[in-house]
């Protein structure tokens, strides 16, 4: 698991690469939680370099989503491919998160949501 951040178009982009499983999901959760603060910039989560993610990773994302929602912030996910997309579908997660197809769309959605507040 490798997590790194970039800043693009006023958003924090969290790139999650490699594998998210039961052992390392707490690291992902910590990282997301640390980033989500009141008044924080919109967050974009890039999963395009993810090898695979188990339900423990989805739990971490779900906790972050609830936190985001409760503080009126924004989290947009993009880069779902192959098995990752399949698992989002199977778990009913596509409708629980804001999921978009491309990086450009994710940045646009994130900045629009912020200026619309």
């Amino acid at each position: 698991l490798e997590i790194y951040e970039t800043e693009e178009g006023g958003s924090i982009v969290l790139h999650i690469a490699g594998r998210v499983n039961s052992v390392n999901a707490p690291k992902l959760s910590e990282r997301l939680t640390a980033r989500l603060q009141p008044g924080c910039r919109p967050m974009v989560v890039d999963l395009s370099r993810l090898d695979h993610m188990t339900s423990a990773g989805f739990r971490a994302l779900l906790i972050a989503e609830r936190q985001t929602h409760s503080m009126g912030a924004t989290m947009v996910i993009y880069g779902l491919e192959g098995l990752t997309f399949e698992l989002f579908e199977i778990g009913g997660f596509l409708e629980m998160f804001t999921v978009v197809a491309s990086r450009e769309e994710a940045l646009r959605r994130a900045s629009t949501a912020q200026s619309g507040d």
């Binding site: 499983n21 339900s55 423990a56 199977i90 778990g91 009913g92």
Partner: protein
């Protein structure tokens, strides 16, 4: 085939068929999932299993072990449980048998699809088993000699026709 002991190449009807089996025992601790995953990955890679099948197996292994380790100990059962993994790759499928001595639990009993539940009732906990049911071609459960025995099997090739 780097390790001859590891591989049992047999000839069946003049065809080279690889039949292999290997076992691993792990302690019932979350960190052990890492060792189990590395072991399985090494083994199926040596057997020439595709990346797509391997990834499905890794997700299923993680979900099943996570479930056993977090929920499998009975109250008052304080000893560190052991989990036995048996992996067998034959010509057309990979079979993973997971045996543990925790409380009886049958994960093959259908998990409700999240789309059938209200959003507030959806929990990732049940989602793990839903992933396993969706990714594996077969799941068989039996309670044998006070142990849970779960056999997961995945076909190596997509079904034709």
């Amino acid at each position: 085939l780097r390790e001859p002991d590891d591989a049992g190449r047999v000839s069946r009807n003049g065809e080279q068929v690889t039949e292999r089996a290997q076992s691993l025992r792990i302690e019932s601790r979350i960190i052990e999932i890492e060792r189990a995953s590395a072991w399985m990955e090494r083994f199926v890679a040596a057997a020439g299993v595709s990346q797509a099948v391997t990834v499905s197996l890794l997700v299923a292994l993680d979900e099943i072990l996570n479930n056993i380790i977090r929920h499998g100990r009975r109250d008052g059962q304080s000893d560190m449980g052991m989990i036995q993994l048996d992996l067998c790759v034959d010509a057309d499928r990979v079979a993973l048998t997971v045996t543990d001595d925790g409380q009886a639990f049958d994960p093959t009993i259908a998990v409700a699809s999240p789309s059938e539940l209200p959003i507030t009732a959806r929990q990732p906990g049940g989602v793990g088993l839903l992933f396993v049911q969706s990714l594996m071609d077969e799941m068989r459960y039996a309670r044998v000699d006070g142990c849970n025995r779960l056999v997961l099997s995945k076909r190596l090739l997509a079904p034709t026709g």
